[in-house]
Amino acid sequence: MKIQVAGPGCPKCKLTEDHVRQACAQLGIEAEIEHLTDPAEFAALGVFFTPAVIVDGKVIESGHVPTVDKLKSMLSEHE
């Protein structure tokens, strides 16, 4: 699974990445986690609101910092 976090480097985006890592660790998912910081790339992915979480090319969260629990349920649904 490939997880991308999109955010221009703001504190919210860093926290989102932390939450993603925690959720993956708790679920035991091996995922490739990438943090995108270039707004030009966001547009190509269909992201308007940051922070955003993109799993295998699909935007699953945009505009809010997701909680670890919410990420866990979304990630296990995705699998």
Binding site: P8, P11, P39, F42, A43, L45, V65
Partner: protein
């Protein structure tokens, strides 16, 4: 000497922050948090993506910028997203301009510090400039070929704001405006009491009308604004106090006094180059006005201060291309100077 400067900074903190925390900052942060949580921003964007007539799409873009973004850090991805989804270049740059130049937090704070007249002028001037910027950008890049990289966001028939959320937003706005305008002359305690009653009212409404999860989300988002903006505000206001104590009055009167074109241009230049964390521009302008800055230059600085900065130019150039930045930045500077001069001489 150093001691005097520290004292000046602390005095500014007491003057601009301590006396505004309860009746202005707390409700403003809660309002910004509520907007981020409850406004369905995808629905707003879907409206803007439509290729409607200029007048309609420009007005819509200006108005929705108040709703969509509450600070300048979030606005670049929104504007570039709109642009790549097929919205006109004018619409994208209107969002890019209006959101930081006239966002909720900054407007609220400007109102309590500089008074109603200046905040109304700020809104009107920001909208006026937005329309001109929109037309200039559209005209300058009308022949440009571009690919739209992604589909417009679909709103799936959602309304922009639910009924309960609308009521909550209105109640928060009342709690923000009433203490500051109804009890403008009275003792501070009266303000706080009215604020307390109104705050209990909207908290009670939120408690009974909203699901727990949305309530928690709202408080989390508000807390984010506090965490992101409050430290910058404290540091900025402290600096404002120090700068106010250091700058000789004669300089301010010579360079920024009156409403001449040169004073307006100089104010615009300061605002366009330097970075002002959102909200800090209001105490800065207030301090300079006390030292003799004219009202026109004050307005120009209020608009371009948060609206434009060197880091902002670079980000725009990277996302939209150097040519668009080279048209946008000078346009804003000419307009800022013009608007300051116009308002300063004929309206304020």
């Amino acid at each position: 000497m150093v001691m005097d400067l520290v004292l000046a900074g602390l005095k500014a903190l007491q003057h601009y922050v301590a006396t505004h925390v309860l009746t202005c900052l707390v409700p403003a942060f809660l309002l910004a948090g509520a907007m981020v949580t409850f406004v369905r921003r995808e629905a707003v964007l879907a409206l803007l993506g439509e290729q409607a007539g200029k007048l309609r799409s420009f007005s819509l873009a200006s108005l929705s910028s108040f709703l969509v973004a509450a600070c300048s850090c979030t606005v670049i991805p929104v504007a570039s997203g709109l642009y790549y989804a097929g919205a006109g270049v004018g619409v994208a740059f209107i969002v890019l301009w209006v959101a930081p130049a006239a966002n909720v937090l900054a407007l609220t704070y400007t109102g309590t510090i500089l008074g109603t007249e200046m905040v109304v002028a700020r809104v009107v001037a920001a909208l006026l400039m937005a329309f001109v910027v929109g037309y200039v950008m559209t005209l300058a890049f009308r022949h440009e070929q571009r690919e739209t990289a992604m589909p417009s966001p679909s709103s799936e028939g959602q309304s922009i704001l639910g009924r309960r959320a609308t009521i909550l937003l209105v109640l928060i706005v009342i709690s923000l405006l009433a203490p500051n305008y109804l009890v403008a002359q009275g003792p501070y305690l009266h303000k706080v009491l009215l604020w307390l009653v109104l705050t209990l009212a909207f908290s009670g409404y939120a408690w009974f009308a909203l699901p727990r999860e949305e309530l928690a989300q709202w408080l989390r988002e508000s807390w984010w604004f506090v965490r992101l903006i409050f430290p910058l505000l404290l540091a900025g206001v402290f600096l404002v106090g120090v700068i106010g104590a250091v700058l000789p009055e004669a300089w301010i009167r010579d360079w920024l006094g009156g409403n001449s074109l040169s004073a307006n241009f100089f104010a615009t230049l300061i605002g366009a180059v330097s970075y002002f964390a959102t909200m800090t521009e209001a105490p800065f302008v207030h301090t300079l006005m006390d030292l003799g800055m004219g009202k026109g230059p004050a307005l120009a600085l209020l608009l371009t201060g948060p609206g434009l900065s060197l880091p902002n130019w670079l980000a725009i150039a990277r996302v939209f291309g150097v040519r668009k930045a080279l048209v946008y930045v000078p346009t804003i500077m000419v307009l800022g100077t013009g608007v300051g001069w116009l308002f300063g001489n004929f309206i304020l």
